[in-house]
């Protein structure tokens, strides 16, 4: 079974992000980059499916600048077999839909039985691409899955999606799109052998023209990126616990009208 895992390179959560001079994006100098955490659940799950079935291929794919190769390398070190790097000036200001179209075109060429995403990338937190790819391909999808089992004949998957107050378990014919929620698994750390081996694995560069894609312009554009408005300074309620609690509850009731 061939499984394709689209991933994204994002700034580490703990990294300070600064707004770039054009106020449309972030200043990328000095940023530590990581594979978006949800994508690691997707890679891990794909590897587990391959291991359980005793055969198959896991292909990592990303759309991004040259540095994004490091993220693909991390996935190869975890155990992915090969990688695709979608990189082209046509995709420079890509919005979710542009990325989804490029990925859908790459998926059509690769023809995997399953596409496993992370539920969202933790930079722009849009979380739209998995469902958009499914729609462009005309495939069913289940978002925020907490568990999955591929049927023995490899024709369908039982996947549990997290909804408010419940887990809904669907039987879905393959091919389909799934997106991983935290809790699906515990991603492995790459071994030294894996890291060494990753250097020899293929990362294929793919241009927009290779996928029949043109620069069709983003449908959603950034008007401005802004710092958070400062929160009004808070108040430490002084005194012994009993006193402080009384004063806190009074403030919540009378000043903040929060209760």
């Amino acid at each position: 079974m061939k499984i394709l895992v689209p991933i994204k390179q994002v700034p580490d959560t703990a990294t300070q992000v600064k707004i770039a001079a054009d106020a449309k994006g972030i200043d990328t100098t000095g940023i530590t980059w990581i594979v978006s955490p949800y994508d690691e659940y997707a890679v891990e799950e794909a590897l587990r499916i391959k291991e359980k079935r005793g055969q198959g291929e896991v292909v990592a794919v990303t759309l991004g600048p040259e540095r994004a190769k490091e993220a693909l390398r991390s996935c190869l070190a975890m155990g992915a077999d090969r990688a695709l790097h979608l990189r082209d000036p046509a995709w420079e200001n890509a919005d979710s839909l542009t990325v989804a179209r490029a990925l859908a075109a790459a998926i059509k060429q690769e023809a995997p039985q399953l596409v496993l995403f992370g539920r969202q990338a933790i930079d722009d937190d849009m979380g739209a691409v998995p469902a958009q790819v499914a729609d462009l391909l005309g495939w069913p999808c289940a978002s925020w899955i907490m568990e999955e089992t591929i049927s023995e004949d490899g024709k369908s998957v039982r996947a549990g999606r997290q909804v408010e107050g419940a887990l809904e378990i669907f039987t879905i014919p393959l091919p389909c799109v799934l997106s991983a929620q935290k809790g699906l698994n515990e991603p492995r750390y790459p071994t030294l052998k894996g890291i060494m081996g990753a250097k020899k694995k293929e990362i294929k560069d793919v241009k927009a023209a290779d996928l029949g894609q043109t620069a069709d312009g983003a449908q959603l554009f950034v008007v401005a990126l802004e710092a958070l408005p400062p929160r009004p300074p808070g108040r430490i309620v002084p005194g012994e616990p009993a006193e402080a609690v009384k004063e806190l509850v009074r403030s919540l009731r009378e000043d903040a009208k929060a209760i």
Partner: protein, 329 residues
């Protein structure tokens, strides 16, 4: 015809719209007044109720587009999207809004791909600039705000629950119901089982007006009972930080933060939570933040409106008592 601001109805799967739909309709109505147009509800369901339809009218929906079909339950993107896309192609609304819920965040993404338009997911504010809509959405773990615009309509967006206000109810308003003829497919995925989460008897985390949350300072799973007691008194949901979830003290569905749920309650009370960026990402838009921590340097105090530097094991029972006294009055 006036341009329409559509709001997709989120219901309780039993024919009653949820409060978040009132919030989406409220914001839709305000934007329609500003930009010209009217707010309308679009309800995809297996079974609507009269009471639910009336509720939508009272929340301000000038019209309700009702797609009622057994194949629409449970929600499946592959079934809902083409139906909604067909209706949108025929009616050309100016905007289509949904709520950030499990099904609508997926639905609106699929719909944006189908219609070839932009989607502003998880929006927390809107403004009108030169007759066009601009959405504000938190990015980079809520450290920055991104203002986004659309190249063409319909403007698609999902709205974070508990952020937008309901309009004053139009008491007694009668719904104007349209039942358009739209093809509904049978779909390919089938529901095998629905596992309900063990009920806590407390509100759902993302819907609660008050959230009580515990972190590493709780010291162990057994101590969350004191937070549950407090929560019961004030009608709150109980959440947890990643540290508490990763330690196995609480199930993941209760995690607040970047790799958990995003909440925006009226009142958030955090106990023994340091306030790592990853946690702040999930609760920063709460209206009032209260923090209790032994460490006066804990970063959570930087975002808190009220703080108590002290031992949570002393403070929580006292708070429970004090709230009980207040609410019994």
């Amino acid at each position: 015809m006036a341009s329409a601001f559509w709001c997709i109805v989120e219901d309780d799967r039993a024919g009653r719209p949820k409060k978040v739909t009132g919030e989406v309709l409220g914001e839709g109505a305000r934007l329609a007044r500003q930009l010209g147009g009217q707010v309308e509800a679009v309800w995809l369901t297996d079974k609507a109720t009269d009471e639910g339809l009336k509720q939508l009218a009272e929340w301000g929906a000038a019209r309700v587009w009702l797609l009622e079909n057994p194949a629409l339950a449970p929600y499946r993107g592959e079934v809902w999207t083409p139906a909604l896309a067909e209706l949108a192609a025929a009616q050309t609304p100016q905007a289509i809004f949904g709520a950030v819920t499990a099904r609508q965040r997926e639905l609106l993404a699929r719909l944006a791909a189908r219609l070839g338009v932009g989607l502003a997911a998880d929006s927390v504010a809107f403004s009108a600039q030169d007759g066009k809509l601009v959405a504000t959405r938190p990015v980079y773990a809520g450290k920055l705000l991104s203002k986004v615009g659309w190249s063409k309509p319909p403007w698609l967006a999902t709205l974070r629950p508990n952020v937008f206000r309901l309009e004053d109810p139009k008491t007694g308003a009668a719904p104007q119901i349209e039942r358009p003829a739209v093809a509904i497919s049978q779909g390919t995925m089938t529901l095998a089982e629905r596992k309900e989460e063990a009920s806590t008897g407390l509100p759902e985390l993302t819907e609660a007006d008050i959230v009580v949350s515990g972190g590493r300072g709780m010291k162990g799973p057994e101590n969350f009972v004191i937070l549950e007691e407090l929560a019961k008194v004030v009608g709150a949901a109980v959440g947890a930080s990643r540290a508490a979830v990763d330690a196995g003290w609480r199930p993941h569905r209760f995690q607040i933060g970047q790799t958990g749920r995003t909440i925006s309650p009226k009142l958030y009370l955090g106990f023994g939570i340091s306030g790592a960026i990853q946690h702040l990402a999930g609760m920063r838009t709460s209206k009032i933040i209260v923090a209790v921590n032994k460490d006066p340097e804990a970063p959570i105090f930087k975002v808190a409106d009220f703080g108590i530097v002290g031992d949570l094991f002393e403070v929580v029972p006292l708070l429970t008592q004090e709230f009980k006294r207040l609410l019994e009055k």
